[in-house]
């Protein structure tokens, strides 16, 4: 899995690539920790290159969601493949998260 | 007839082989486990230490105080005839530390903790919990046996020291109360003849006994077969075998100490 960060105005776009699984989700968590430390409050996670996400990856996203909510921030997702979307739907997480079709829609009135 | 004896002997050899294999397995996990990053969790070792040690304190103290009292009265009966009542103190202390306290404590713990270990592991075996651990790629020896083994290895000597003190207290009660020995003189005589080696030979014994109790308790538990009845059988077997082995090993170790003049 690769993690790339882009700064756009006051929002951060986190572009993920590859497979998010039990072995690399701690890396993702570390990247999120960094964002929290830098006091970034608006985060968009771009899933365009993600082929698969497992429970530990989902749990990492849920934790980030809770942390951002606590400091008054927000977490949005974009560019999700249908396969990955299915995983969110199975776990009923799609109701909890804000999922957008593309980055622009996600950044709109952020 | 001959074939029956043969079958019995083969059964014993199989049992012995199983116990030795478990012993090797335990040492493998204790010695090499930490290097693989897979050691038993400290939390479960502490849990077992509390169960084996802390919960046995009262019964151990109880048994050893009364043994001290009985021992003092029995030796006083003999020593009075020779006018050497004062030596009750050293006799009680030495025989307790070298022999009685390690053995009695081990027997009490075998009856209490050893049986509980085989009952618990036996129940886990017959309800497929052991198999479940294996299918989850969790080694039962590392996960279940090693914590119990370490707990007994540490707690039995500790309990034995406590038993020593309790026994000496029992002797002291008889010596000062009934035999009218001056309390200070009693304690002086106790420690005058009690040497450090008397204590550590007792502790070496209790280390060995701790291993026996854990090994037999776990082996019988893990090899339980056939439902609730099997658990009952395993528990009984573990206590009986532990008792026999404790006495046997006690005899062997005592002989070694005796002939090597320790």
């Amino acid at each position: 899995m690769k993690i790339r960060e882009e700064k756009l105005n006051d929002a951060v776009i986190c572009i993920l690539e590859g497979e998010i699984n039990i072995n690399n989700s701690p890396d993702l968590r570390k990247a999120f920790d960094g964002l929290i430390k830098r006091n970034e409050k608006k985060l968009v996670v771009d899933f365009s290159g993600v082929s698969y996400i497992d429970s530990s990856g989902l749990a990492t996203l849920i934790e980030m969601f809770q942390r951002l909510k606590k400091i008054g921030g927000a977490l949005r997702f974009s560019n999700m493949e249908q396969k990955v979307k299915n995983i969110f739907e199975v776990t009923k997480l799609h109701k909890l998260f804000e999922i957008f079709d593309n980055r622009e829609a996600a950044l709109k009135d952020f | 007839m001959v074939s029956e004896i043969g079958i019995v002997i083969i059964e014993y050899l199989k049992w012995f082989k199983g116990v030795i294999f478990l012993f090797i397995d335990i040492f493998y996990w204790i010695v090499f486990g930490p290097f693989k990053g897979k050691f038993s969790r400290r939390q479960s070792i502490f849990q077992q230490m509390v169960f084996v040690g802390l919960r046995s304190i009262i019964i151990v103290v109880f048994v050893d105080i009364f043994t001290g009292i009985v021992l003092a009265m029995q030796t006083a009966y003999q020593l009075q005839k020779m006018g050497a009542v004062l030596y009750v103190a050293s006799l009680v202390a030495i025989s307790l530390c070298r022999e009685l306290s390690p053995v009695l404590t081990a027997l009490v713990v075998a009856g209490r903790a050893g049986s509980a270990i085989s009952a618990e592991l036996g129940t886990m075996k017959v309800t497929e919990q052991i198999e479940a651990l294996e299918t989850m790629a969790i080694n039962p020896t590392r996960f279940l046996v090693v914590p119990r083994f370490l707990a007994l290895l540490l707690m039995l000597p500790a309990l034995t020291i406590l038993g020593n003190l309790a026994g000496i207290l029992g002797g002291y009660l008889v010596g000062t109360g009934s035999l009218h020995i001056n309390p200070d003189l009693y304690m002086q005589t106790t420690f005058k003849y009690l040497e450090l080696k008397d204590i550590y030979t007792g502790l070496i014994k209790s280390f060995a006994f701790g291993m026996i109790i854990a090994l037999i308790g776990c082996y019988e538990g893990l090899n339980t077969r056939g439902g609730a009845e099997g658990v009952g059988k395993a528990t009984t077997r573990s206590v009986v075998i532990s008792f026999i082995l404790i006495i046997l090993v006690d005899c062997i170790i005592t002989a070694i100490f005796y002939f090597s003049k320790i």
Binding site: I22, S25, P26, R29, Y52, I53, D54, S55, S56, L58, A59, T60, I62, E63, K83, V84, N86, I87, E89, V90, T91, K92 | E120, T123, M124, T127, E128, Q129, E131, A132, L133, E134, T135, M136, A137, I138, N139, F143
Partner: protein, 270 residues
Amino acid sequence: MSVKECKAESIISLRNVSKFFQGKTVIDDVNLDIYCGETFVIMGCSGSGKSTLLRLMTGAIRPDKGSVALKGRDIAKISSEELDEVRKTFGMTFQYSALLDSLNVEENIALPLREHTQLAEEIIKIIIKMKLSLVGLRGYEEYYPSQISGGMRKRVGLARAIALDPEIVFYDEPTSGLDPVVGGVIDKLIKDLSVKLMITSVVVTHDMHSVFEIADRISMIHKGKVVEVGTPEDIRNSKNEYIRQFINGSPSGPIDFFREDIGMEDVLDL
């Protein structure tokens, strides 16, 4: 949540597998292929060898003859360390759920996560909540196995089996001893996991209702042999006498309840 690539090849394959116990043949020259993503049901009477077959697949027992391959690796021939690596990729539920009595629901599900991953405790807690809500048992984290019902225990067992997002889940009698409603709930869970998460399921059962509910393919085992393998439709329309008797639950037929080799003759000898 493993919606992984599923290739159309067998994920489990048994070749000429035999197993003997004390001179008796329990599994007799079995050949089976189970494909990725399907729900494969093994049915048969008690003592037919179906549980033994399942244990051969999980590596709990090793075959005396033949090979058992999981994802192309022969688990009968690999070392126990390698077997443990394979075991981390599948989950199993047990007939009596086999939860550890000394641990509560949360700790039971956390066990494989704590033992095999480096995940932070916070993440593990969230995963447990996700798995529990998947089996409909949120709020039971603090309960001990002895404090909940048999059906709940089985569901917790299922949550534990899928804790590490396995590719294969083995179910040993998932609905036995449950009332029809809870049985239906479990059936739906198995189906859901299989369809939505593309988990390959291998189910051992003799619950006929559940068999036709969940199966993609069914195999009938009798006296350690595979009698027939087919889709639920094939099995329902099968002319095979064993299968007809099993489906109808009739006491007389080729599956003999009374052993022919030991008749009543010996009674007269007394």
